[in-house]
């Protein structure tokens, strides 16, 4: 429930349901049950047009501006004021209106500027102007401060307060606690798609160290985490890790991440953090898929060659988050997919021997119990869990020793998850090492020997086995200090 003139914060882990809720509000998704009341009246949001008409505006993280149109054109796209000749635009009126809106938001930029010339913060203002021009009375903002500097955040909050005074109701999605306490009036915590707690934020903010008010933070964290059943996926946790397989020192990558970490043989090391923390970017940088600016990566003591090709040759493996777009060739067979990373190793002379290929492929299929009627089946017909196994199998055939798993259990069912973790368990038991990125905190706690936590594109801490708990991970992932 959001009252006019208030900011209602939505808080939740990755996958708690925030984005789905947003998409329902803007008419892009249809709810299965329940109702939405706007101004006390039931509202049916069947399409973006419906949402607009009812005064709901959503500002996503990816902006919907057209780069080479000017600001006024962007604000009024599709609703341009008409000129005397039908089809023409009354540019003077359009720019005047745009000017008025931008002034109201304190944006001092010429309306004739092209959208791509603005910085991110300014583009955000234009997005807000666009929403306001549609007489939005309910504004939903998704992680609005993700790309803003501190000063820009201050300005944004001034505007938000101004909007509050005008009676606009704002739904504000964020995980930055300090900001939440600054700007929010109420807070609702979502978990597994449900509202698990909603309460007012005290306006007692003289002490900026209110964040240190552990009572509040603890309440929130506990609500977000809930009580989970502990699962056991590991035969035995790693007591005596082997040699260092991956050593990353002061890495700085072009995509903005930085960090230092180690992974030793026999370990499953977790890489945790909230969305936007930079985990995938770090993995890509380590794997050579994104460019490294400074620092070092060493695999089994030696620096790998350039790019993913060099990483693979050095024994690294990457099981990507988007397995279909980055890990598999859907139109090719299981056999072809399984062998693609191991071609060089299996056939050093470059001659592809069909018999040997078939043997190697069926070997992997059996080891991982990939459910497929034949190795010639096209991968696109396999279930999510089996597709994931094919990706893992690819690296088995290549003889990798260090594996990076990025959200390995996304989109696969409980049974397949268990199987996957057993695979990981067996991998490290035989001397390999695993770095696992996961947003499923219970899984991180259940599977990993220890975990690094990332926040704002940097590694901010390490949790050893004894300290590894969901609360600790979340605390480290959100603490802004």
């Amino acid at each position: 429930m959001v009252d006019a003139g208030t900011v209602h914060v939505l808080l939740g882990q990755n996958g708690a349901g925030k984005s789905t809720l947003m998409r329902i509000l803007c008419g892009a998704h249809h709810p299965d049950a329940g109702e939405i009341l706007i101004d006390g009246q039931a509202a049916r949001l069947r399409s973006p047009a419906d949402a607009r008409r009812l005064g709901v505006a959503v500002i996503f993280q990816e902006f919907s501006l057209v780069p080479f149109l000017d600001l006024a054109q962007n604000i009024f796209l599709g609703r341009e004021p008409g000129g005397k000749v039908p089809g023409t635009i009354d540019r003077r009126r359009m720019h005047a209106e745009a000017r008025r809106l931008l002034d109201g938001l304190g944006l001092d930029v010429d309306t004739r500027t092209l959208a791509h010339e603005l910085g991110v913060a300014q583009q955000q203002m234009v997005e807000i102007a666009k929403a306001l021009s549609q007489n939005a009375r309910i504004l939903v903002m998704d992680e609005p401060t993700a790309a803003l500097s501190d000063r820009e955040v201050v300005r944004l909050f001034e505007r938000v307060r101004a909007l509050k005074r005008e009676g606009v109701a704002i739904v504000y999605i964020s995980h930055r606690l300090q900001e939440i306490f600054q700007i929010g009036d109420r807070i609702t915590v979502l978990r597994d798609g449900k509202n698990v707690g909603s309460f007012a934020i005290s306006t007692d903010l003289e002490n900026p160290k209110n964040l240190e008010n552990t009572a509040n933070l603890e309440n929130l964290v506990r609500l977000m985490v809930g009580r989970q059943v502990t699962m056991s996926y590991r035969e035995r946790f790693c007591e005596t890790p082997g040699e260092v397989l991956l050593e990353v020192r002061d890495l700085r990558a072009e995509n903005g991440v930085r960090g230092t970490l180690d992974v030793k043989a026999g370990e499953v090391v977790g890489l945790a953090g909230l969305v936007g923390a930079g985990r995938t970017e770090l993995a890509r940088a380590i794997f050579g898929a994104d460019r490294v600016v400074s620092g070092s990566v060493r695999v089994i003591g030696a620096a790998p060659g350039r790019g993913p090709a060099g990483a693979v040759r050095a024994g690294m493996a990457l099981v990507p988050e988007n397995r279909q777009t980055e890990g598999l060739a859907l139109m090719r067979s299981v056999q072809d997919n399984v062998l693609v990373a191991g071609l060089r190793k299996l056939f050093p002379s470059a001659w592809y021997l069909a018999a040997k290929a078939a043997r190697a492929a069926s070997d992997v299929i059996n080891r991982l119990q990939i459910a497929t009627p034949s190795p010639a089946r096209l991968v696109r017909f396999l279930s999510g869990g089996n597709q994931q196994k094919v990706v893992v199998g690819k690296w088995l055939a290549a003889g990798s020793r260090f594996f990076i798993f990025d959200e390995p259990t996304r989109g696969i069912d409980i049974g397949a998850k268990a199987e996957l973790f057993h695979v990981i368990d067996r991998l490290v038991a035989s001397g390999a090492a695993v770095l696992m990125i996961s947003s499923e905190l219970p899984e991180v706690v259940a599977v990993c020997d220890r975990a690094y936590v990332m926040r704002d594109k940097a590694i901010v801490g390490e949790l050893k086995r004894a300290d590894l708990s969901e609360e600790n991970i979340l605390r480290m992932a959100m603490h802004h200090g």
Binding site: L328, A329, R332, A350, A398
Partner: protein, 309 residues
């Protein structure tokens, strides 16, 4: 391979239809002629197939054949050595391929526009180089390569078979070939699987150019003359042959065998039109329509496949 079988069946159907309705079709000279012509088309289309397998395209093959043939002819005439001329043509074709490859990998230009620019560059240079002249009159020994027979079968068919064998071995029995298919099926996944994508793309475009150079020699032998315009009408039929043969513009799907079948199909259609005395000017029209149809089938097949993912 299943789809190739279907297409072969289509060829058989067309052939049957023609032999029933057109008198001069089912005669030995005509059949051999069809095979010879299909072989020539196949030679040009084979390199093109490789580039399309990587989800790319080499639009310059036709012009490449034209210029390579003219250069080869010039060297042959001026040096008196067939071998030297042939080597020149081959080398130049490969050189064009190398440049195309660099534009695509190092300069990251979209393949179709880069090779399209190359097409016009080569065309212009060809016309300038030949200056309106024609070079003709080669030795019978050389001409046999294009127009001759060996054991009763036109020689180009042997060349075609050799290309097919070599290409088939490359695509199916070398790691390079498998990597090419992987790149075409999903370039990023291939890269993240450790395949050196840029190196392979360079290889593929170079091969495409080299094969065009080889094809130029055979063409030269067949036509027994070199003029500036030989390359112009070659690109569209080559593309048609590849597409009819089931190689997808989206990459990762297709085969050289398919291209051969496609070349056969196209040649049959053209032959049928010729035998029925249809104005030769209809041919580009028919070829164009076939290309559109083939692309449409390709897109629909891909959309249907993606819908079930």
């Amino acid at each position: 391979m299943k789809t190739v079988a279907y297409r072969l069946l289509a060829v058989a159907l067309i052939a049957t239809g023609l032999s029933l309705t057109t008198e001069a079709f089912f005669t030995l000279p005509n059949i051999l002629n069809i095979l010879r012509q299909a072989s020539l088309t196949f030679l040009i289309a084979s390199g093109l197939t490789l580039t399309i397998l990587t989800a790319g395209l080499d639009l310059s093959v036709g012009a490449n054949v034209g210029l390579s043939a003219c250069l080869a002819a010039t060297v042959m005439k001026s040096s008196g050595s067939i071998a030297l001329g042939a080597a020149t043509g081959l080398a130049f074709g490969a050189l064009v391929g190398i440049v195309n490859g660099m534009m695509v990998t190092a300069l990251k230009l979209p393949p179709f526009i880069a090779t399209y620019g190359m097409l016009w560059t080569l065309t212009g240079v060809t016309y300038w180089f030949m200056g309106g002249d024609t070079i003709h009159g080669f030795s019978p020994g050389f001409r046999a390569l294009g127009s001759g027979y060996w054991l009763g079968v036109p020689v180009p068919i042997y060349v075609m078979a050799a290309f097919l064998a070599a290409g088939g071995i490359f695509t199916r029995y070398t790691t390079f070939g498998h990597e090419v298919y992987a790149i075409g099926a999903n370039r990023e996944a291939a890269r993240l699987s450790g395949i050196p994508v840029r190196a392979r793309l360079n290889l593929v475009y170079t091969l495409s150019g080299a094969m065009a150079g080889l094809a130029a020699i055979v063409y030269l032998a067949r036509l027994n003359s070199a003029e500036a315009d030989i390359g112009e009408a070659l690109t569209l039929p080559a593309i048609a042959a590849v597409l009819i043969g089931g190689t997808s513009l989206f990459g990762g799907v297709g085969s050289l065998m398919g291209t051969l079948v496609g070349a056969l199909t196209l040649t049959l259609v053209v032959n049928g039109m010729n035998l029925r005395a249809i104005d030769a000017n209809w041919q580009p029209l028919v070829t164009g329509a076939i290309v559109i149809l083939a692309v449409w089938i390709d897109v629909v097949t891909r959309q249907r496949a993606e819908a079930t993912v």
